[in-house]
């Protein structure tokens, strides 16, 4: 039974704090195993990757078969029915159109002191995208990771995807081809992350690794962070819906369950000022949990982490939402813009009753890789900025150095960094003498 809370109840704060603090993830500690795998790949390269692929994926490869050939990719892609192909192309086009707008501007200006300042953005040269194998192998995630990289200008984009027993999802390969991925390797787990980060005889190293994965992949990403860049370590998915009474309870129940069906650790929360509506949604959820294909997963998530909270009004709902800082936030209210203006912490906001969160998972345009576990307080979803870096630029004219150099000399002296100061002093001496 999900928690049915009311902010007017005396114990509300205790219950809500429990909901916020619920430990939803209990990752096994695989760090030692992962460290050994990484060391093995660094030491033995391809041979280690092939051994581990034999062991974990029951697949006997040789180094020249690590990468899919263009012919193999074409063959798999040909299996994809026309409807799926068209849907992937629609999604790709919309995701691309959104992310193109994220491209940041370079800047350059000269200030009143005569200093020319600015910055310049350049793409990461090579990026690797991890794609889980098996059931969690989502073609939509390929698009969401690969398209921002290509829009940013990444020249070499590789995918690592495990193919247990040799099985691959053709939609993953088609999504990769549509997104413009350059290389696709049959490898998974910590060994794939190690190969991407350090390189092997066959796999050239990359500069940045993104994409979801299991506990081994997550631990490996943490370990190679610094050697390469990584995206966030994603936790289980979450949705928070704020809805007034003027909604179809079935819509809202389905939106809640579309997170709950992801994972037993997912979390779905409804905040509503209308207690009757809250009860109607609860009833719809129970009805749907009898019939959904993934009802076992969804029911566990709803039972353990779901909640319906009756609030005094929408303003109170917005304030509670900010304490959750949800990954996905739906605002199913008459004036969603006004309510959005009250929200500060959320990965993505879906406005109005015609914007189910699932639209954002596939075809809305914004990225579906979003901050989980309250990290929307300090981080953002994936974007082109994850595949770009900024170089700052500064050029002093002689006049500028005369104007601001003396302040640098004073501060260098105060920090006991004599050579710093002298590098300015020597130049000022020449300029002034």
């Amino acid at each position: 039974m999900p928690v049915f809370l009311d902010t007017r109840e005396p114990d509300f704060e205790i219950d809500f704090a429990r909901l916020l603090g619920a430990k939803r993830e209990d990752s096994p500690d695989v760090d030692d195993t992962v460290a050994a795998i990484i060391a093995d790949v660094r030491a033995r390269g391809d041979a280690a990757v092939l051994d581990l692929t034999r062991r974990f994926d029951r697949l006997d490869l040789t180094a020249d078969r690590l990468a899919f050939t263009p012919a193999e990719i074409a063959e798999e892609c040909a299996r994809v029915p026309a409807a799926e192909r068209a849907a992937l192309e629609t999604a790709a086009e919309r995701i691309r159109a959104y992310h193109v707008r994220q491209m940041p501007e370079n800047a350059r200006w000269t200030d009143p002191d005569g200093a020319t300042l600015g910055w310049r953005w350049t793409p990461v040269a090579a990026a690797g995208l991890y794609v889980p194998g098996g059931l969690a192998s989502y073609p939509s995630s390929v698009l969401m990771n690969a398209i921002p990289a290509k829009v940013a200008g990444v020249e070499r984009l590789c995918i690592a995807v495990p193919t247990p027993d040799g099985v691959v999802n053709p939609l993953v390969l088609l999504a990769a081809r549509i997104a413009g991925v350059d290389e696709i390797y049959r490898m998974g787990g910590a060994q794939a992350i190690a190969a991407l980060a350090y390189g092997t005889e066959t796999v050239a190293p990359v500069d940045k690794i993104t994409g979801p994965g299991n506990a081994f992949v997550a631990a490996a990403k943490r370990r190679v962070f610094g050697k390469v860049g990584i995206d966030m370590i994603a936790g289980p998915s979450e949705i928070l819906v704020i809805a007034d009474g003027d909604n179809d309870p079935e819509f809202i129940a389905l939106d809640l369950l579309s997170q709950a069906e992801h994972d037993e650790s997912a979390q779905a929360i409804l905040l509503t000022p209308d207690a009757d509506f809250g009860r109607a949604v609860a009833a719809e959820v129970e009805r749907l949990l009898q019939v959904l294909e993934r009802r076992a997963i969804a029911a566990a998530s709803w039972r353990d982490f779901g909640a319906i909270v009756v609030t005094r009004d929408l303003a109170e709902a917005a304030a509670l939402s900010d304490r959750v800082a949800p990954e996905h936030l739906e605002l199913c209210v008459a004036d969603p813009e006004a309510l959005a203006a009250r929200i500060r912490h959320a990965g993505a906001i879906f406005l109005g009753q015609w914007t189910p969160e699932a639209i954002g998972d596939y075809v809305g345009g914004p990225n579906h890789v979003l901050p989980t576990a309250r990290s929307a307080r300090f981080s953002s979803g994936l974007s082109v900025l994850d595949f770009l870096k900024r170089t700052t630029l500064a050029q002093m004219s002689p006049a500028a150095l005369r104007a601001i150099g003396p302040a640098a000399e004073v501060l260098a002296r105060s920090e006991s960094l004599q050579a710093h100061g002298l590098s300015v002093t020597a130049r000022l001496r020449k300029l002034n003498g």
Copy 2:
């Protein structure tokens, strides 16, 4: 003796690879100690912080004395001589003017399908800045971390600074006051990071922690990452200078030594197409190493990690520089703009002979917190973006949902996420029926 290399020598590739791969940092493994300290602070709050402060900083505080009072801050600030005060204010003003320009734009548009899309930037609510105590307690770093946070709109900005034996650098407090820091705590090490991340009775938790620190601080930041955001884990400083023969060898020698004097693990490299100029700089470095105050440190850095590389031309120098991806890059050549256009990986570029790197450390305007250890391949210096996060926005009109909803249904089905699909189907049924 620094390495004096020539790209035309047969062993150049081997020597350069050795230079690139040199392990410059040998951090002690303090992870277990740090884990215990964090657990202690989480369990005992203030009491743990006070115990650890007694132990490590030989300072006996009570909880009500953890924070500096406004009167204490004013008293310390009053000790700062006028020249230092004026220099800090000049620096702050220039850093603020640069970072204000980094503020990103919000966006909102409606696309041809009738989907209204966009994004919105909001500041992190509370940030903590770690400032090392003792000799490495740099007021310039306070400005470089605190000003972007305040420009971004962070409402609550705290500093943690250890005060061993009760001693604090008045310039640090003045820099904090100039930058608009809200709270300053007398605490350091892993216990300070734990207090900022998890909070204690006295210290409210923050959402993001930035700033440099020793091995304990770095390990603690890695551990609390996820609970809060962190900036990069900085390694030892680096400079790479590309200079033609038309430079004053003393300028270039001082620029190289201004990194070398930071740290025995710092690295300074000169690339020049003019072998005679390279030798002249080497001689200047040797001369300066006899007289500089920090000559022991600078000499060790130069001996172990310094290099002068004679290149065929400037283009080859630019290509080598990209392989280093230096934190700081000086282009002391006749046409620095043209050379900068050839560079892809660098934290900060200083153009022309009148722009010593030390200007950038203090008063140039761009941030001096920059990616080290070749991480300029995939990351950027500190900016206002480190204190902002982006929420994506999407609103479907009924027409938009009719146009793109079916593609979402197809993709949800292909990923076996039935509730995702139904959340769209139910709405389309209502719209179409």
